[in-house]
Symmetry: C2
Subunit: 240 residues, 2 copies
């Protein structure tokens, strides 16, 4: 079932316009009689296509239900910028798995150090990836990808959250020991290829972060966030 | 630290030959005095390079320790063949995360249906990927990728295992309800893009498989095995 987000609450007969309409009628080639779901606020609206044109798609709204696909934990991924296009992959997978916000940051061991202009371009690109991943995984909201910040700023941002956990390649606690199933707001820090410098782990600890491990096997930079988010969703009861 | 597998137990002064020697001296450009680890049987052998040539690499064995990187659960991934090159990715990630054997199979909804010749080529390619992933993640053994089988054969193979769990996109139990932390041998079934046909789920149940879910968000074919293996490693105490 095709899944789209709408800023306006769809009622009775509703018209989808702009890029979304083009996507539905031209890319997906959806036609009259086909069903789609619109997601707006905390609700989902099953719809059937009434008429499609290049510029717009008219749908009939069939109902309104509370969206139940959002996890109970509000998860913020603080991801040290990895090399190449690995971040594209991390954004896509972490949105599929239920992350709410993604904050790329630059740690001392990041090899990739793009300038502001490149960062702005990449952030826009990652936000597009987040949108398409949110549609494909049928999320109840579009996770946001924020502009990359310094390690210090990331630590400050995490300070406002209920819990923070850093996954450290040199070892830490079992994730189940540092996370309660009732966790409702959590920030996780994941390193880039080079991992974290010991001083960065110290700074995170001084700011209240717990240090956890993902086990004895060495995970690639792009695998660690996927494994960590999967385990967190399990611990917080969002894989039931 | 570079990590390689050796079929012969390395003692005192040991000579690495063939492809592995070329890889060390030509691709990795490792030189005299650099350290590497050889893994043989259940042991790891820290070594230092004594001399490198195109054809061979002489190392001095510095010690011998039990390898502690293998998970306590012997996990067999029965993976319905996905489209394109997604299987390359699934093999790499599942080896990183600790799978012991990978058995690709053809379910009724598999779009990709390669002929025997292609299958043989692909199996060899996946085995190479498994080796390099095992070296990179510092596994204690090289997981095997078996030649693709029919769904029926996969079910029979799983019958010989202590436990079997199928992850079903249409819902099932919480993985923690169907798996004990003491699980020592487990086969998991993961579908391709089209998921499983209800009859296939029935067949698996009749053969003793438990049906589990990975939550309410729709995961891509290549994301599901990574999430499932991460959660299983956590439940069986292999992420502590």
């Amino acid at each position: 079932m095709a899944w789209f987000f709408s800023e306006i609450e769809p009622t009775n007969f509703f018209t989808i316009t702009g890029e979304q309409a083009k996507h539905i009628s031209l890319s997906l080639r959806m036609r009259e009689g086909e069903e789609l779901t619109l997601c707006c606020g905390e609700y989902v609206y099953p719809c059937v296509i009434d008429k499609t044109g290049k510029g717009e798609v008219k749908v009939r709204v069939l109902g309104k239900q509370l969206c139940d696909s959002e996890p109970s934990v509000e998860l913020v991924l603080f991801q040290a910028l990895p090399k190449g296009d690995k971040m594209d992959y991390i954004v896509r997978k972490s949105v599929e798995l239920g992350v709410k916000r993604i904050v790329p940051f630059l740690s001392s061991r990041c090899v990739s150090r793009p300038d502001l202009k490149t960062i702005e371009k990449k952030t826009a690109r990652w936000q597009k990836i987040a949108l398409s991943a949110a549609e494909q995984s049928r999320r109840g909201m579009i996770p946001t990808v924020e502009q990359a910040v310094s390690f210090e700023t990331a630590v400050k941002m995490a300070g406002g959250l209920e819990n923070t956990v850093v996954f450290y390649e040199c070892g830490g606690e079992n994730p189940g020991k540092v996370l309660s199933p009732q966790t409702r707001e959590l920030g996780i820090f994941i390193g880039s290829e080079g991992g974290f410098a010991p001083e960065e782990i110290e700074t995170l600890k001084e700011n209240g972060a717990k240090v956890a491990t993902l086990g004895k096997r060495i995970l690639r930079a792009e695998t660690a966030p996927v494994a960590a988010i999967s385990v967190i969703m399990y611990i917080t009861g969002n894989m039931g």
